[in-house]
Amino acid sequence: MIWKFRKKKIMDLFKKEENIFSVTQITNSVKRLLENSFGNVKVVGEISNFKPHFSGHWYFTLKDASAQISCTMWKSANARVRFTPEDGMKIVVSGNLSVYPPRGTYQIDVHSMQADGVGELQAAFERLKARLADEGLFNQELKKSIPTLPKKIGIVTAIDSAAFKDMVSVAQRRYPLVELFVASSRVQGEGAAENIAKNIKLLDSRGDLDVIIIGRGGGSLEDLWAFNEEIVARTIFEAKTPIISGVGHEIDFTIADFVADLRAPTPTASMELATPNKDDILNYLENYFEESTSIINSIISSFKDKISDLIISYGFKSHNHILNNNIQNLDNYLFRIENGLNNKIQKKMNELEIKSNIINSFNIDNILKRGFSLVKQDNAVISRGENFDFDKKTKIKFYDKEIEIK
């Protein structure tokens, strides 16, 4: 073995330094011995004192009833762990035994870790769920509403999956006006959660999508595990675009389902929830013609009613009264004008008659003055002898007076 190979050198050391090691020398010797004799080991135990460092490395202790070992897991290795380790969780780690010289402790450099059975995965799920719930990631009042008429829908799923084909055919049938933007993603196995998170961010960062669907067909708890990982949960929570989750079957609940703004029981259902039904809209449009026509007709007839109400209203009648009154007034004025005119004419006529009588009487007076006299019977002038009646009373008018004879 290597021990033998190095034996001579170490024996030299003993001689030279009288069997005295420096701390570093003995520690390094132990380190070499340990690392070389065990190689890769698998160890089962319970996590305690789990500390994720801000550098991304993990430090924890693996223990059982009577012993414990320090463990480190570098960032590059723990990025592939598909669950969030927590104290008390039973896991199987795989790694190399090593010594950390500054502390003189031995530890396992963990390369990979797995939950010790489905029960542990389930327990990890419950713990993460409880923790995220406490943090408020599932709060109902933070959930964004899903728009009813989406223009653009983002999809995070495996583009070659049956789930994707189902979603496309649902969209085609229900609402072909929508545009689908697919970010094809690994949905199970190593790195799936990171990939899903990255694709959600990619779609979310566009800013023009109305909703993002994250989906995957049915599978075992392990198959769906990526959707139970913290990184996916936090990415969904931070996204500005509303997110619908449609993972697995009706009975499968993932952490993603709890964080998402809306949970659909299946990928198919997620697209149904994201899209309105074309037939409903077409029906609405068909009804629209009928309904709006009947509404406009009733509006028109109600205006007609208003007009006829107006016509028989007092307002309009009073208008007639006013008109009639005015006509009467006008008649009255005309009547008065006419009367006034007639009176004036009459008056002038009278004056004229008086004057003409005077003028006439002056003519007779002049003749009488010259010695002529005027014979009158029955108040009429007798101008011819043959008209004289001896039996009648006769008046003779002289210039100075009128006498009556028999």
């Binding site: 496309v168 072909p176 689908l180 993603s185 694709n199 629209y288 709006s292 509404i295 406009i296």
Partner: protein
């Protein structure tokens, strides 16, 4: 972004707005008739757009180089 051309969604929203306005019966006759004409025109356009629509699918690729 099409700002000048009305999208289907905008038209459908407008249509609902118009039916509400007509049903409320608070707009005048001239306005009602204008709304009615606008609505019938929009409804015809929407009907045509939707019944002739074809699904569009685009694939986007995340920048996977940042994967560590």
């Amino acid at each position: 972004m099409s700002t000048k051309k009305k999208t289907f969604e905008d038209s459908l929203m407008r249509l609902k707005e118009i039916s509400d306005l007509l049903e409320e019966n608070e707009v005048g006759l001239d306005e009602s008739i204008k709304l009615y004409e606008e609505g019938v025109k929009l409804a015809k356009e929407c009907y045509k757009t939707l019944s002739e629509a074809q699904l569009k699918i685009k694939e986007l690729k995340a920048d996977l180089e940042n994967d560590i």
